[in-house]
Amino acid sequence: MASSSSSAAMRELQRELETKANDLSKLQKDISKNHQVRKKYTIQLGENELVLKELDLLKEDANVFKLIGPVLVKQDLAEANANVRKRIDYISAELYVYNTLLDNYCFHFI
C-alpha cells in the first residue's frame, strides 16, 4: 500500500528526471551547434572585413578578379566593393539571429 504508492511516486519522479535529462541534452546539442555556426560566420566576417580594407587601398584602375569555380573573372573595383559590403551585412545579420537564438536556449536552460 504505502510501499506501492511510494514506489509509484518514485517511478513518477524517475520519469520526470528522464524527460528533464533529455531536454537538457537536447539543449546542450543545440547550443553547441549554434556555437559552431556562429564561429564559422564570425571567421567569414573577419575575412570579409580584411578584403574590404585591401580593396580600399587599391588604385582605381587596378584589376580585380573573382574566383568562381575554376574561372578567374575580372571584376570592376566598385562592383567588388559593393559585393563585399553586402556580404558583410548579410553575415552580420545572420550572426545576430544566431546570437539571439543562443540567448533563448540559455534562457530555456535556466
Partner: protein, 380 residues
C-alpha cells in the same frame, strides 16, 4: 598567557578534494595544449609569410626566370617565368587583385602584423591558463599533504604591542604552534641580549650624563639592528620591540640608577618620563607634581640633556659588547609572545612614587618592584 581563542580547523582536503583538483588541473592543461598547438600553427603561418616576402622581393630582379613548371600531378617541364613584377594576390573570399611586387610585399606585411597580434593574444591566454593550472596543482598537492586551514576569531587587542598571531586564517599545518614556541624562545634570547645591551648603554649614558631622549633614539636604533640581525626579523616582532623597548628602556634605566645613585636616579626617571612625554608627545598629562617637587634641577637636567651632543648616539649603537650586568630581569619572559613589561606613560606619575620607594632602599635592581602596566601583560 593569551586566553584560548576559539577557532576551527578545516582540512584543506575537505574544501578541495584532491582528485577533483587534479581533474581540474588536467582540464586546464588540455586547454593549454590546445592553445599551444594553435600557437604553433600561427607561428608557422608567420614563417611562411616571411619566406614569401623574400621570394616576392627577389623575383623582379630578373626579366624572366628559367624554371621547372609543374605539369599535372607528377611531372615538370622546363619553362620560363615572365612578367616578373605582376602578382595576383588573394585578398580573401575568392577575390584577387593584380599588384606589383612592392605592393604585394605591403599586403603581406599587413597580414604578418595581424598574425602577430593573434600570437600575442594566444600567448596571453596561455599565461592565464598556466596560472590556473599551477594553482590547481598546488591545491591538489596541499590537499594530499593534509594541510589544514586554521581559522581563529580575531581577538581585538587593545594593545598594539601584542603580536597578533591569531586572526587571519593561515594554511599552516600543526607547525603553527611549533613556530610560536620557536618565536617565543628566540624572543627570550633576544630579550636577554637586549637587556645586557641596555645596561651597557645606561652605563655609558650615565657616565656622560646625557639625556634619555638620545638614549631612547639609540635604543630604538640598536633594537632594530638587533632584531634585524636576528633570524626572525619579521615586521611584527619589530613592532613588538619598538614599544617594548620603551618599557625596557625605562626599565633598564631604573635598574642602572638603582644600583648607582639613588638621588640622581629619581631625576633620571622623572626626566625620562618627562622627556618621553615631550619627545613622543603621547600624553598631554603634564607632570606638574613632579615638576613642582624637582623644579629647577629638573629644568637643568632637561637643558643638559638637550645640549648633549650626538656623541652618545654614536657611541651607544656601536658598542655591542655585552656586559655581565645581567640582572634578574627576564624573569617574566617564560613562554609569552610578549616578553617585556609595558610601562605606559600615563602611569608614570603613579609609578614613579612607587619606584622611589624601592630605590630609596637601594636594592639592586630586581623586578618585583616594577610597576605593572594596566594591561598586565607579564602577569598572565
Amino acid at each position: 598567557m593569551q586566553e584560548p581563542v576559539k577557532g576551527t580547523v578545516t582540512p584543506l582536503a575537505s574544501l578541495f578534494p584532491p582528485e577533483e583538483a587534479q581533474k581540474a588541473s588536467k582540464r586546464v592543461q588540455d586547454a593549454l595544449a590546445d592553445r599551444q598547438s594553435e600557437l604553433d600553427r600561427v607561428q608557422g603561418f608567420i614563417a611562411d609569410n616571411t619566406a614569401l616576402v623574400n621570394l616576392v622581393q627577389r623575383l623582379p630582379d630578373e626579366l624572366h626566370h628559367d624554371i621547372m613548371v609543374p605539369f599535372g600531378k607528377a611531372a615538370f617541364f622546363p619553362g620560363r617565368l615572365v612578367h616578373t613584377n605582376e602578382f595576383l594576390v588573394l585578398l580573401g573570399e575568392g577575390y584577387y587583385a593584380e599588384r606589383t611586387s612592392k605592393q604585394t610585399v605591403e599586403i603581406l606585411n599587413r597580414r604578418g602584423k595581424a598574425l602577430e597580434s593573434q600570437v600575442d593574444s594566444l600567448k596571453a591566454m596561455m599565461k592565464d591558463l598556466k596560472a590556473e593550472a599551477s594553482f590547481f596543482d598546488a591545491t591538489a598537492a596541499e590537499a594530499v599533504e593534509g594541510l589544514v586551514e586554521i581559522r581563529e576569531d580575531y581577538v581585538e587587542e587593545s594593545s598594539s604591542e601584542r603580536v597578533i598571531e591569531t586572526g587571519p586564517p593561515k594554511p599552516d599545518s600543526p607547525r603553527f604552534s611549533g613556530e610560536d614556541s620557536m618565536k617565543v624562545a628566540a624572543e627570550d634570547e633576544e630579550y636577554a641580549r637586549m637587556m645586557l645591551r641596555f645596561d651597557e648603554l645606561e652605563k655609558e649614558e650615565l657616565a656622560a650624563g646625557s639625556g634619555d631622549e638620545h638614549n631612547e633614539a639609540d635604543v630604538d636604533h640598536s633594537l632594530s639592528q638587533l632584531s634585524g640581525d636576528h633570524v626572525l626579523g619579521s615586521l611584527e616582532e619589530r613592532q613588538v620591540r619598538k614599544p617594548l623597548h620603551h618599557s625596557k628602556d625605562e626599565y633598564a634605566t631604573t635598574e642602572e640608577l638603582l644600583s648607582k645613585k639613588h638621588f640622581e636616579e629619581d631625576f633620571a626617571n622623572q626626566l625620562k618620563s618627562k622627556i618621553q612625554l615631550e619627545g613622543l608627545k603621547e600624553q598631554s598629562v603634564p607632570k606638574d607634581s613632579d615638576d613642582v617637587s624637582h623644579g629647577k634641577s629638573f629644568a637643568n637636567r632637561a637643558t643638559q640633556s638637550s645640549s648633549r651632543g650626538k656623541d652618545n648616539i654614536q657611541a651607544l649603537p656601536t658598542s655591542k659588547a655585552e656586559t655581565s650586568v645581567q640582572s634578574s630581569k627576564p624573569a617574566t619572559d617564560g613562554l609569552k609572545a610578549f616578553t617585556g613589561s609595558i610601562v605606559e606613560h600615563t602611569r608614570n606619575i603613579q609609578m614613579n612614587p612607587r619606584e622611589q620607594a624601592p630605590s630609596s632602599s637601594q636594592s639592586s635592581g630586581s623586578q618585583p618592584t616594577k610597576p605593572v602596566s594596566r594591561f598586565k601583560m607579564q602577569r598572565r
